[in-house]
Structures are given as C-alpha cells and as structure tokens.
Symmetry: D3
Subunit: 240 residues, 6 copies
C-alpha cells in the first residue's frame, strides 16, 4: 500500500557513514533511504557572547539544502540573501534536540556546531539530520577527549528522530517525499534512549487528528526510535 512497498511500521534503509569528510571533528553521512544528509560537527573554543562567564558550553546546529537536492531546483539561500523560515525552523529544532544529548556544564567553554547539509532530499531531512547529527556530535566529543580538551564525559544520552504520519488513513513510519506530500498528518518525534520525548511536532496538513491517532503514531515512533538507536550504537561501536 505504501508507494515504496514498505509495511506501515518499516523504516527505510538506514546508513550512518562515519568520517565522510576529513577535516570536521565529527563527520557523518546519514541516509534514510534516498534522503542523504552530511552532518559535520565542529569544535571551537569559546561560547557565544550571552553565555560567557557562565562556565558552560554550547551546542548549536545549522541546516541547509543544496539547490538541487530536490526534484526541481530551489534558489540558493546565500544568493537570495537570507535563510528561509523553513530552514530556520528546522535548524532551531536540530539544535534544541542535540542539546538534550549533552551536559553543557561538563562540556566546558567550547561550542560544538553541527552543520547538516542535505545532499539529496526524499522526505525526513530533519529527522535524518538529528539522528546523524547526534552521531557526529558524539564523534566530536570523543575527539575532544582524545585531545584532552575535556576530562569528564559530557555525553548524556543518544537522541534519535523519526517522522510518523497518517497516510491514506493508516499510521505509517518514516515517510518519504511521496507519502509526506500527500499525508493528512505529519508528526516529527525526537526521542531519548530511555523512551523520553524530547520534541513532538505534529501538523494536520489536511484534516485534524484525534488523540487515538496521535497515540498510534507515537507507538510507531517508539518502534522506529529503538531501531535508530541500534543503528547509532553500531555506527559508534557502542555495545548494544
């Protein structure tokens, strides 16, 4: 029934490729099916002005899409002279989510910026960015530890994200573009390993959704999240 032939509770093929580029302290290519996002984590000394002297670090994210990541070309934001509302909304979500993975006090006065650049977009770029960005962030923290920039371990927990929706009346997991553009409802869920919810963003594009449907979608998201954590631990070499 799904355009891709997947069962309602099936993720797309997930791949997390570490060290995709050479220079970033953490570099991960994350793929959710045809959606491909390059997540590069950069460690810099110091914190933004408004955090100075508070004896803590900062984690933030930026998001971009290559002009031809999509079916038709969209204008380059650098050329248009500003980041669009969708871009800002997504990078704020990624940043908030990744901060939940880290104890900023233990990070010390460093800033980690996770750049999520979409090379190819087939739906779910924000959830892939969070899932892959968390691995890149972990890599960057390990890099800091190897360099002895920090002594304690600021990493609190893995964070993953997946979309769920109501497609032709059925709750489905990890929507691709074909489904996303026709779904009645779209819910992006960010989870912690212990099952806690970090972010829930649901939008009824066509018709309002009920509490029952919300719960069905959250059940699916939990299942997807468990699988994503397995992929993340595998990529990071953490015992399951």
């Amino acid at each position: 029934m799904r355009p891709s032939g997947r069962t309602p509770d099936a993720l797309r093929e997930i791949r997390l490729t570490r060290e995709f580029t050479r220079y970033a302290e953490g570099s991960v290519l994350v793929e959710f099916g045809h959606t491909r996002v390059l997540c590069n984590a950069t460690v810099e000394t110091g914190v933004p002005r408004w955090l100075r002297g508070k004896n803590q670090g900062w984690v933030t994210a930026e998001y971009g899409m290559l002009p031809r990541a999509t079916h038709s070309r969209s204008g380059r934001e650098a050329a248009r002279g500003k980041q669009g509302g969708r871009t800002l909304e997504i990078q704020r979500l990624i940043g908030r989510s990744l901060r939940a993975a880290v104890d900023l006090k233990k990070l010390g006065e460093f800033t980690i910026t996770v750049d999520c650049d979409v090379l190819q977009a087939d739906g779910g770029t924000r959830t892939a960015s969070i899932t892959g960005g968390c691995v890149a962030l972990m890599e960057a923290i390990r890099h800091m530890q190897r360099k002895r920039q920090i002594k304690s371990d600021p990493f609190k927990q893995l964070i993953s994200s997946v979309s769920v929706g109501i497609y032709k009346g059925t709750p489905v997991l990890d929507l691709d573009y074909d489904e996303d553009s026709r779904a009645d409802t779209d819910l992006n869920v960010v989870m912690a390993e212990d099952g806690g919810l970090i972010e829930v963003q649901g939008t009824a594009e066509q018709a309002a959704f009920s509490r029952l449907e919300l719960n069905a979608m959250l059940d699916l998201a939990e299942k997807g999240g468990r699988e994503l954590f397995t992929h993340q631990r595998e990529a990071l070499g953490i015992p399951q």
Copy 2:
C-alpha cells in the same frame, strides 16, 4: 503553587475585544492575562503567484513583537534587517493553524493576512495570536459577506490554541512568562471545535517527558480549548 496563584487547570483572564482599530476588515485585541496581542485581518484581492489560476484563496499570518513588549527591550527586527528565526517559526504556525479554519476553495481568489502584533508579552503570545487571530479572521469573512465579495461561507470551524506544561512536576494550563521560563516541558496545542488536533508542538527544555505526561497535558489543553471556544463564540455573538 503557581506564581500567579492559579489552580493548575485555570486559564488566565481571557478578553477578546473586537474593532480595536478602525481600518482592518477584522480587528481584535486578545488578552491572555497580561499578554496582549493586536490581531488585524486584511482582505486583499488576488492570491500569491504560486496559487494563481487554481481557483482558491489564501490565508496567511505575520507576527511581530513591539520592542518593549517584554521585560527588557529587544532590538527592532525592521532595524536589524530581518525577522528572526523565532518570529518566522511562530508566524508559520499561526498561518497553518488559521488555514484549518477556512475552506480555501470557497474563499475565492482573495488573500486574508492576519497580522499579530504583540503589545505586551507575558508568555503564550503564539497561542493568544491564534485564538484572537481566528476571531479577526471570522470578522473579515463577515465583512466580505456584507460587501458581497463572496456568496458561500468559507468558514469551517473555530480554532483555538493554548499552552500547557510541566511546572515543578505538575501539569499546568496556560503558562505565563514566569512559569514558561522555568518549566521542564512546554506544549503548544492548536485545536478544532470538534476536539481534533491541528498542531501539537512539545519541547522538553529541561527534561524529557513521558507519554503519560503528554497525555495529562493534552487533557488540560482540551479543557482550556473548550473554555477558549466559549470566549470566541461570545465575542462573535455565536450562540453557545
């Protein structure tokens, strides 16, 4: 227990003042306690370029905050040369929510823009904007009907919005700034009169939240929503 002395399930005092300004087709001052937002709905002929010839109308929103709506002055976005990420995120949310109130096909080739300008901010500016903006939108549609710009009735349903959160371990309704800045979790809910959910946006600022907590918050939001619909109907002179 709440700084304001309210019980956990109590809204702040809600006021909806119609015809607050003279020129807009719909003009409503909405107050959620000390939060005051001026919602002006403007009717213009025509639709955005990408909708032309599709035989439908458009509803959109813009959001702004006066520089001294808050405890300390924030820079004027017009002077800084761009709208911030928070502003864009909020106005996209308001626009999506208000479109759920209207049958765009029946609206015909008109655009209704709802400007939500915050005169005073004490938490919940986006939920007040949606709740008041829906009344301004309804007013504007009535104006179009009086002017015979449209024959059919494009208004589908009332939409309201309220925030809920976990404050010191307890789910509370309609957070003011004091609570919002210290809450563990903050959830903005947009509802339809029939109980359907239009938008759910939850963020765990301090600690992840559980499915149980989510459900408790949604229960509170439903109660708050029912009261807000009563206020809206009263303001609009619709029999309860």
Copy 3:
C-alpha cells in the same frame, strides 16, 4: 469647511494615557483623534560606542507603523528587510526633538530609547509621537530618579509638536489624513514651552507658500502647542 467639522484653529481630541503597558520605564498611549501611537521609553545602562567616555547620556527614538494602521495594508518593514526612507526620516526627527528636552550631561551614561509604534494612523503620526514620546521620556526619567540611578534632574523642558497646513486656501491646525492628503502645504512644528522653535519642516506638496502663509501657520502652531503643553502637564501631574 474642514472634513471633520473642526474650526481652523482646533486640535483634534487629545488623549495621553500613561502606563499603557507594564514593562517600559515610561509608557504612553497618545491619541490625536483617530491617530494612536504607543510610546514606550526604555532606560539602558551605557551609551553608543561613539559617545563612550564623554560623560554624558543619549536619547534616541525608533518609529514603526503596524502593517494595518492605515486604510490599506502596507508591507511589514521587518519582512521587507529594511526600514523605508519615510520611517528613518521620522525617527531621526523624533530623536532630535526629544534630545532638546533633556540635558544629556546630567543624564549620565544612560541611553533612553523611545519606541513610537503607530497602532492607527489618521495623519500627524510624527507630531503625536513627539508629543507623547516626551511624556514617556519624562516618566522614564522619574523612574530613574525613584531608582536613584540619577541624582540631578536632566529634564530641561517639555517639547510638543503639531502639524499645520494650508487646506483649500485656509491655514488649519492639526491636519488629519483627509486634509493632509489634499493640503497644498504641510508644516510640522516642534516647540519648547518657552515658545522657542526646535524644528520646522514645511513642504509645499502642491504649490509654493509665501512668508505670509508661513507666519500664519506658525501662529496656529503656537496656539496648538500651548494646548498640547497643557495636556502634557495634566498627564504628568505638573501644576499648570
């Protein structure tokens, strides 16, 4: 003869409402008839970079108009990405005028910013902004005195402003939009209580004006100014 039925030398109804918002150190809603401007004065420690170390304070103003303050909606400057020429011209005028009310040396190294945001525009928004802004400024200085941020009194004199023009051949006081858009000449006058002129800005939109007409307009402005000072003193509780 005037569209409003006023005599040539009559002001519109003037209202100055203090404490219109809660957070600003000075907050005044000024109304010249249907023209309504919210003037919020903010006190901040420090001065602009180019004044540092000069042992003086600074007073400045910003001006904005809500998109639907006018008969038809005008684009939001924050969304367009810059303040227009008219806006900049007006806020420079307001700032210069208000500085004439204050002894910057006695103010000490503080900056007072007066935000003038037009909620509803029916002509004369800049003169209302100056007249109301001066009251908000005075309030902010009183606030500083109560907080013991300053010891001496930097307030020099009240400043008010009114427009005059030649409408259908007759000099008239305090033009509303109907008159303003059809007047041959428009003159904005900023005055001190002792009768001194702070600013005079006259524009012949249709036909040049003579020295005789200029003097007739200035006579009217003096009369209007005297009445405005009475309103300001009343609002501030200063004995007449």
Copy 4:
C-alpha cells in the same frame, strides 16, 4: 568673524559646470566653495509601477557621498548593504524639490532620475545638490526636446536652495562645514524664482530659535536665492 572671512550675507563662490560627463542627458558639476557635487540627470522611458496609466511623468533623485568626500573616510554604503537614514532623508528632499520645477503631466510617461554624488563635502551638500540638480534637470528636458521626445515644455520654474543658520548669535548665509558643525540653528530653504517657498527645514541643534531669528534667516535665504537663480540662468544661457 566667519571662519572663512565672509560677510554674514555672502555666498561662497558658486560654480555650475555643464557637460561635466559625456553620457548623461544633463550633467552639471556644482560647487559651493569647496563643496562639489556631480549632478547627472538620466531620462528613461516609462514611469514607476504605481504611476502607470496615469498619463504623467516622474522626477526623482538619488544622493550619495564618495567615501572620502569628507575629512575622515566614511564607510561605503554599497559595502554596508544599505543607504543610511541621512542619505535617504536628503534624496527624498532633493526629489520633492525638483518635482516642484516640472509639470509632470506635460513631461509624459518618462522618468528623469537626478543622481547627486558628492565628490567633496564642506557643508551644504543638499542645497548644492538641489541647485545644481535643477540645472541638470533643465538640460535633460532640453535634450528631450531636441530629440523630439516631448513637444510641450514641462519646465515650470527654476528651483534653488541654500542653507542659513545662527552662528555665534548672528544669522549667516550658506554655512560651510566649520560653521555648520558649530551653529546653534541650521535652516535649509528651497525656493522658487517667484519667491515662493518649496521646503523649509530648520533644526535647533543647540538652542531653540525664535520667530524673529527664523525671519532673519529667511531674509538671508531670499537674498542668497536671488543670487543662485542668477548663476543658474547664466549657466543655462537664459537671459537675466
């Protein structure tokens, strides 16, 4: 008494050099002493969008200052990414003033843009721009007549402009930078040949000015204006 040794009612040396550049339809280098402004008038077919179909033309102006026109270098506005408030204020004044020289109905659907670029600034750049810009505008209209783009004569009258001020208690004509930066009051006057006033912009930078002082300044401006009209007529070869 004046730093330049001039008598209070003396203009600086005025020069108007036509055909200063080759390509503009009207090109005038205007000099008020050391102040030098290049005024280029461009004729283009068509009018701005909001004037289309109204069967009239348009005259507008743009103003700029070369970065090192002044004693110390000021940043290039093109590099900073926007025109400052002072620039916009001045070019709006120049445009309004020049429109008073032309019958826009008789101009037909053409736009004349007068670019006023300051090569060297020693006070009075806006008054020099208006005075020189009017000559460039007249040249451009003659060019249109030679090219038979228009049949009737849209030129109504010469417009000139000069500054006056109160310097050390004495009214003086045509302030240079030394005087302008220390004057109590500065008044820019735009006049028509018949003695009518087009614009009057007076600012009390240090102390308010009286009606008496205003009249003394306007007397001086009239004298200066008469001399400027003689210079303009001479430059244009119009019999005195």
Copy 5:
C-alpha cells in the same frame, strides 16, 4: 620535494563519478585528490529576462562551499546574508568557462544552471568545479536530447581546468592546499580540447613572475589539461 610527494608535472588522483545524486539532469562528483565538489546541472525552460526573445539559451553556474569543507569552519554564507567576493568571483569564472563549451543558439530557450558545491576543499576547488561541471553539463544536454527537448547538438567542445604555480622556485601542476598557501604564484587555466585558452588567471601572491615562468606554467597546464580531457571522455563514454 612536493608535500604530497608528487612529481612537479603530476596531477592528483582524478575521479569523476556520474549520477552522484538522483534528481539533477546531470550530477557529477569530481575529486582532485582530497578536493571533492558535487556538480549538479539543472535544465529549466526559459532564459533570464535580458535574453528573452533572442532565440538562444543560457548556461550559468553557482558555487558554494559547505561550512566545514575546510580545516577550520567558515561561516555559512546564507546565514551571513550574502555571498562573499571570492564566491562570486569563482562562480562568474565557472559560468563563463562552461558557456565556452556550448553553442547557446543551438541550445534554444533553456537555461542550464550548474551548481558546484564543495564538500571538501584541499586546493583547486574552482578548477575541479569547471572540470566536473563540464561533465555534468554534457550529461544534462544528453538528458535533453533523450527527452527530445532539443534536436541539434549544442555541445561544442570539452572544457577542463587546472591550476599551476611556482612552488619553491619550481613550476608545479595541480596545487593542493599546502602548496597553494605557500606558492609564489598561482595560475588557473581553462582550456579547450583543441589547445585553445579560455581563461588564464595568474596572481603573484608573493613575487612577480616572468614571461619565462608564465610559459613554463602554461606548458604544465597543457599537459594537465590533456590528462583531464582523457578523464572526462572516459567518464562520458566518449572514445578517446
């Protein structure tokens, strides 16, 4: 002697991977050693405004660098609100070069935009962009031919580009970042298959270069160009 151990006339390892992304009409990942650029060619109907009605097509390019393509992170141009001078200079060069590969008359009223986004930068990003961009352009034209959007063949010739420089007194081919940042002279050469020069851009960063040195560098560039054409033909399946 070269940091990489290469002989002076050796290119880095060159790879051209077609169909790197799914949606672009031409998509090539080009690698010059560690420098990796994704070149996506997009075909769109129509031409820029200034070319309309001239019965020809257009080829243009845009260039960007991911923030962490380099050793340290550089700010995102979309966030800074404009493309820098280096970016604009490079994308203008790429566009001019690629236009030399195509007969714009035969292309018909289509625009091909080649986006060159640097995933990893180790020197020579502009020469890699031109070399890879030409292959993507050829792919896009083949796509148009398969879709029967054009009948004739607008492809004129292959274009390739390589840098040469004087490094520690010796002319070397295809500088990597280590060499480039310490070279006395840097020359970027764009060539056609028949040996003709399309662009030559030489800069003496440290010391002027002689005609003799220029000729030695051009000899190297010719050798490098011949090898690049072989790589391009191989990637495109064109018999050598």
Copy 6:
C-alpha cells in the same frame, strides 16, 4: 582600423591629476581617454582584526561606479543593498595589485584604503584604477612620511595596469568600450616596473586564444606598461 583611429599599439591619452580632492591623504584623477576614475587613498591607524599583533600594515581597495558613468544608467549598488559580483571581483584585483607595491612590514600598523570611483566609464576602468590608485597610494605614503607616522620607506615599486585584446583578429592595446564589447579576447595585465607580472587575467569572450596570441598581447602590454610608468613617474615628480 580601430574605432578611435589609434594604431594597435597606442594607448589612449593618459592624464594623472594629483590633489583632485582636498581631504584624502592621496587623491588622483586618472584618465585613460574618456575613462575617468577618482582614486582617493585614506590612511587610518590600525589594521583589520585578523592582522592585529602581526606587526604589519594593510593596503586594500574599494571600487564603485557612479550610476550614470555609463551610456545608460545602472542601479546604485547602495540602493540595491549589495555590491555586485563584478564590483567585488574588480576591487579584489585592485587591492591585490596595490599590495604588490608596498612592503607591508615596513608600513607598520596602518591601513591604507584606496577608493576608486568611476566618474565616467569608456572601458578599462580596472586598469585605470590600478594605475591611478598606485599614484594615490604613493602620495599617501609620502603624507605619512611628512607627518612622521613612518620612518622607513614602505614603497617597493610602481605598479601599472593596462588591457590588451584581440580585436578583429589583431592584437590591440588599451581597449575602449567600443572595442572591448566586440573583442574576441580581453586580457588585463598588471606589471611591476622591473617587467615582472603581478596579475594576468585573460578571458576569451568569443573564441579561445592561442599561446601565440597570448604572447603577442603580453608584448603589447609590456610596451603600454613602460609608457604608463613614465606617466606615473612624471605625476609623482620622480626622475625618469
């Protein structure tokens, strides 16, 4: 054969007028025939942030064109809100070229900015800017020496620049607009007095050029350069 009647190896009439404006530390009007550029060099204490503490100075350039420097009016970059790609490309070239004239170590912690503003453009504005800018730069250094801001002499060598091209099959020197817009190839050459090449930028606008043609153009450029150095030395009063 050339539109101007010049022989292929003839420069246009070259003029270098010193002290064209009063305030700049170095001010030169350079004319290559009808091309006229005002080059003003400004000396400021300090260096850009990224050079601080490196015990050296900086030389940079900015370039602009007055809107009506050309046959038809082009939009003012300050009004459009950004400098175009061509402008940035040219000012980067001028800056790099002028830095080759100076020993930045000997300059000390000063920045010299050379503003090149085109008053009239008839081809070759960038080469005129470099040639005149070098004289203004030399003047500014002399000014610093007179003021005893520096003791040693940071001036290394004169730099000049000229364009060459292939026009109707013949190599020609110093192209004017008529030739430039129709030339097959255009080469801008920046030279040092000792014959060394600082920059070579060749573009085949219509047809690729051969090594033979490149050498013929460079021969012409050398001849032109020798004549330009003579003009520069004459302007600066340096014995030939």
